[in-house]
């Protein structure tokens, strides 16, 4: 039985179907990737899982409970932690205070009036490697640091499921690598990690299972090797599919997509493909 299951989730915004009958799962102790072009609905699916966005259709099961209608904070209390693609760090608090707030919430209202020092705060900051920034305001640190801060903050509530929305953007190559190691350590301790990521090296390197989303649909699920050789996935990254919806893809993007899906390219750490949909 999977820790998390999304069952037939559909989200419509007016005319747009952002997520279309998507199925997905995450297991304890393993890192699951969720990839797909821009606008594929990855973030929206995260919002549905964590409760920020009610689905039009479908269900979310977590730890064998149907949590589809549970409020955001209840799911967090059950053990879901997440980070945000658009940063949601508490800008007017310091890095340390950001993590401290999460610990306070985790410990519950009774602890708020005690004033005991929580040494886990320092540990978490060390784990993500932000010792240098502890006393800086969160709105004054670089993006990459703020992302790692969000990871530390999510870990502060001791989640069983950790949802990461593009955690590595803003990190340099070395940082990304140690971040990958951190994720593997967390997984080894039993945490289930579900990660949206555009950095294919990272995804292919650490994930056991990968779901590919395109236009809201899960078009493939498999191991990194299976995904790399999947024709539908290649097509998705090239921006067209076998059926009638043919689209113009600029050559450079097509080339980039091919390069990315091919053998890991050490110089190319992040790559995002602009959404190619009918909007323009």
């Amino acid at each position: 039985m999977a820790l998390l299951e999304a069952i037939g989730v559909t989200v419509r915004f007016g005319g747009i179907t952002a997520v279309d009958d998507a199925f997905l799962s995450a297991e304890p102790g393993s890192i699951t990737g969720l990839i797909g072009p821009n606008g594929a609905g990855k973030t929206t699916l995260f919002n549905v899982i964590t409760g920020l966005q009610p689905p039009t259709k479908g269900r979310i099961r977590f730890k064998n409970h149907d949590v589809t209608r549970a409020p955001v904070d209840r799911r967090a209390k059950m053990g879901m932690g997440r980070t945000f693609q658009r940063l949601e760090a508490f800008g007017s608090l310091t890095v340390r205070e950001n993590v401290q707030v999460a610990r306070d919430v985790h410990a519950g209202a009774r602890s708020w009036f005690g004033g005991r020092k929580d040494k886990r705060v320092g540990e978490l900051i060390e784990i993500v490697g932000l010792d240098r920034y502890v006393n800086q305001r969160a709105d004054s640190v670089p993006t990459g640091v703020a992302r790692l801060l969000e990871v530390a903050r999510a870990l502060a509530i001791e989640p069983e499921l950790l949802l990461l929305d593009e955690p590595s953007s803003g990190l340099d190559e070395a940082e990304t690598e140690s971040f990958g190691t951190l994720l593997q350590n967390l997984a080894r301790e039993g945490c289930a990690i579900l990660m949206v990521e555009h950095d294919m090296d990272l995804v292919m390197g650490v994930c056991e299972l990968i779901h590919v989303l395109e236009f809201g649909k899960v078009i493939a699920t498999g191991t990194p090797a299976q995904i790399r050789s999947n024709r539908a996935v290649q097509a998705a990254y090239l921006g067209f599919s076998d059926d009638s919806t043919t689209m113009q893809v600029p050559d450079d993007i097509a080339a980039a997509a091919t390069a990315m899906l091919a053998a890991p390219n050490p110089t190319e750490t992040t790559l995002s493909i602009p959404a190619v949909d009918g909007e323009g």
């Binding site: 409760g51 693609q85 959404a275």
Partner: protein, 657 residues
């Protein structure tokens, strides 16, 4: 039957006028994201200008109307957009509310200054075509009413054509959905914004001119039109113009039919005024939960929090210094200082709520009034009365916050305003509260056998309370609750995903804040020896909030300075008729200028001191350096819409990321 028809016509007249005002409010809110609390004040000023041109200067009606609508209103709209609205469109809700509230009072101040009320001249505007009327279903209908209804229909048609048939109208509708998108496609968002404010001001002016014959030419009646307009617009959730029209007509009819109610004078008069507020509360209760939004403004310049030791020493020094000064004051000034301290304590409640939490209460003085009334009811010198007053006020605060706790800042603020008005009309004026004649006596508290009958000693007691509360507040700010308040202000969504149940947290904070205000009220009643409803009018909460904001709403020292400011300004204004608008001009103008820096004058003062004497030990309330980068930029990902206050996300475009 005749009665029914004439009440209906009367109601339709009001409904039509409200519809014009409300659609202006909705138009500007949807296109620019600024909720203009001063919308009614615009109507008020326009009505005064109309009076000046038409009645005072004797211009023909049509010429005066044309001048007001096509010269005054557009100019006003442009100036407004340039000087005020452009600066708030991306600000947090609290800042936006304080700023437009500043405008609200500033306009009243201007009106008081240009058209002072204490001249022998009585100003009035009669309705168009006087009492000329024509028969409808057996009753006579004034031409004025017909004109108003036609004007409302014309405005609706005009808006429809502009929004659906013109290029700029399309751009305006795009701005509703997605402001970034608008910029992306090269539409000039400044032009859209200016045009919105011009049209919004024109509609406010039309409503003002049509209503002034009924409300009278007065600074307040038309200014509070914003409540009616807001109540009507809420039916369309501040988004839909057709529903705004429907809401207006329903509200107008309700006011018309309320004339059926006969009973006590309180009920007859009170009901008419309370109806919009009641309607507002009803709708607010049924508005679905606001979804948590991500990608908002966060990170506010915050004052440093002094360490416990430093706060304690500063508090003790302050206490004795202030006590020493009090000893030197004459009896009148001692009493005034006592009042300033009560205001200061009330402002401490705002430091918690607004300064730390970012929520705005527009009825803090109403809570003060509740506290005062409770203490008077007990009429005993036992401190238990004060305790009960605090508890009851805290309970009332929780009851106000409960219905709106699913919603966000804007709605909470407007609900408090509605609550204050209801209390004004239905409770504070009722005989069971302050009795007929509206004044009940209170005894001063006595502690450990000491009765504080000497005013100086009572002021010392107030000082002690102020210092203790201030220290308590700073302790809260340094602890877990303070961090949570700030975190919640910066990102409600992140707090929720950490597992915080913010509904109850919010109610608790609001309730504590109300309780502190209740304590201030209890002290006020003791100071004055009585309580009268006139001292706790909803309207007076507005200068209170602004004085706190101008002095510095994030700090304890700001609360003290704000109390002094609020006490001193009316005293100054009373010295000469040439200063009649002084209080509101200073507070309103100050709020407009300073709203973006919530740390206010006190902080500017400290910074100035630091600049002159670099090593000077100011009490620790120096602003932190502004963050070097405004906010970590997004590497990729699509832009979010900024609909933080929109109850629902049924908006096409780009969203939650």
């Amino acid at each position: 039957m005749d009665v029914f028809v004439s009440y209906t016509i009367y109601g339709l007249f009001f409904g039509a006028a409200y519809a014009i005002a409300a659609s202006g409010l909705v138009l500007t809110y949807t296109t620019t994201r600024v909720f203009n609390l001063a919308h009614g004040a615009t109507s008020m000023v326009a009505a005064f200008v109309f009076w000046q041109l038409h009645v005072d200067k004797g211009m023909p009606t049509w010429a005066a109307i044309l001048l007001v609508l096509f010269v005054f209103a557009p100019l006003y709209g442009i100036v407004l957009e340039r000087l005020v609205m452009r600066r708030v469109s991306d600000a947090p809700v609290g800042v936006m509310l304080v700023m437009t509230l500043g405008l609200f009072l500033f306009l009243i101040g201007i009106a008081q200054q240009i058209w002072p009320s204490n001249t022998s001249k009585y100003r009035y505007v009669t309705q168009f075509f006087g009492t000329k009327s024509f028969p409808v279903f057996g009753v006579q209908m004034y031409y004025h009413y017909l004109i108003t209804i036609i004007a409302a229909a014309a405005c609706a048609a005009g808006l429809y054509v502009m929004l659906n048939r013109t290029r700029i109208g399309t751009a305006m509708r795009a701005a509703v959905d997605n402001r970034e998108l608008l910029q992306l496609f090269g539409a000039n968002s400044n032009r859209v914004s200016i045009l919105s404010w011009i049209i919004g001001s024109q509609m406010a002016a039309v409503a003002g001119i049509l209503l002034v014959a009924k409300t009278g030419l007065d600074y307040y009646q038309l200014t509070f039109l914003v409540i009616n307009a807001f109540a009507a617009a809420m039916l369309g959730r501040l988004r839909s113009l057709p529903f705004t029209y429907l809401g207006s007509i329903l509200l107008g009819l309700a006011i018309g039919y309320s004339q059926y109610v006969h009973g006590s004078e309180l009920l007859e008069n009170g009901l008419q005024f309370a109806l919009p507020t009641l309607m507002l509360f009803l709708i607010l209760i049924f508005v679905p939960e606001v979804r948590l939004r991500v990608g908002q403004v966060k990170g506010v310049l915050a004052a440093n929090v002094p360490s416990a030791r430093r706060a304690l020493t500063t508090g003790v020094v302050f206490f004795f210094l202030a006590l020493f000064v009090t000893e030197l004051l004459n009896p009148t000034n001692t009493l005034r200082f006592g009042e300033a301290l009560v205001f200061g304590i009330t402002m401490l409640s705002l430091v918690l709520l607004t300064g730390y939490g970012g929520y705005v209460s527009l009825s803090q003085l109403t809570f003060v009034g509740v506290g005062a009334a409770v203490v008077c009811k007990f009429n005993t010198s036992s401190p238990v009365a004060i305790l009960v007053a605090v508890l009851i006020t805290a309970g009332v605060g929780a009851a106000v916050a409960l219905p709106v706790l699913r919603l966000t800042g804007l709605y909470l603020a407007l609900a408090t305003m509605a609550f204050g008005q209801l209390m004004d009309y239905l409770v504070f004026n009722a005989s069971f509260m302050f009795g007929f004649g509206g004044k009940i006596n209170a005894k001063r508290v006595s502690l450990f056998g000491y009765d504080f009958s000497d005013t100086t000693s009572y002021v010392a007691l107030e000082l002690a309370v102020f210092v203790l509360l201030g220290l308590g507040l700073l302790t809260i700010r340094r602890g877990a609750v303070g961090r949570l308040l700030i975190a919640l202000r910066d990102s409600p969504a992140a707090c929720a995903t950490l597992g915080l149940n913010q509904r109850w947290f919010r109610v608790a904070v609001f309730s504590v804040s109300a309780g502190v205000a209740g304590l201030a009220g209890a002290l006020m009643a003791g100071l004055q020896g009585y309580a009268a409803p006139g001292d706790y009018k909803e309207f007076q909460s507005l200068p209170l909030l602004l004085a706190a904001a101008v002095a510095g709403i994030t700090t304890v020292s700001g609360a003290f300075a704000g109390g002094l400011l609020l006490m001193l300004l009316p005293v100054l204004a009373a010295t000469s008729t040439a200063l009649s608008g002084l209080e509101f001009l200073v507070l309103g103008g100050g709020a407009i200028l300073l709203a973006r820096d919530p740390n206010g004058l006190v902080n500017l003062f400290y910074r100035g001191m630091r600049a002159v004497v670099p090593r000077m030990p100011v009490p620790g309330w120096v602003t932190q350096r502004a963050a070097s980068a405004p906010k970590p930029a997004e590497v990729d990902g699509e832009e979010d819409e900024d609909l933080d206050e929109i109850p629902e996300a049924q908006v096409a475009g780009h969203g939650v990321a």
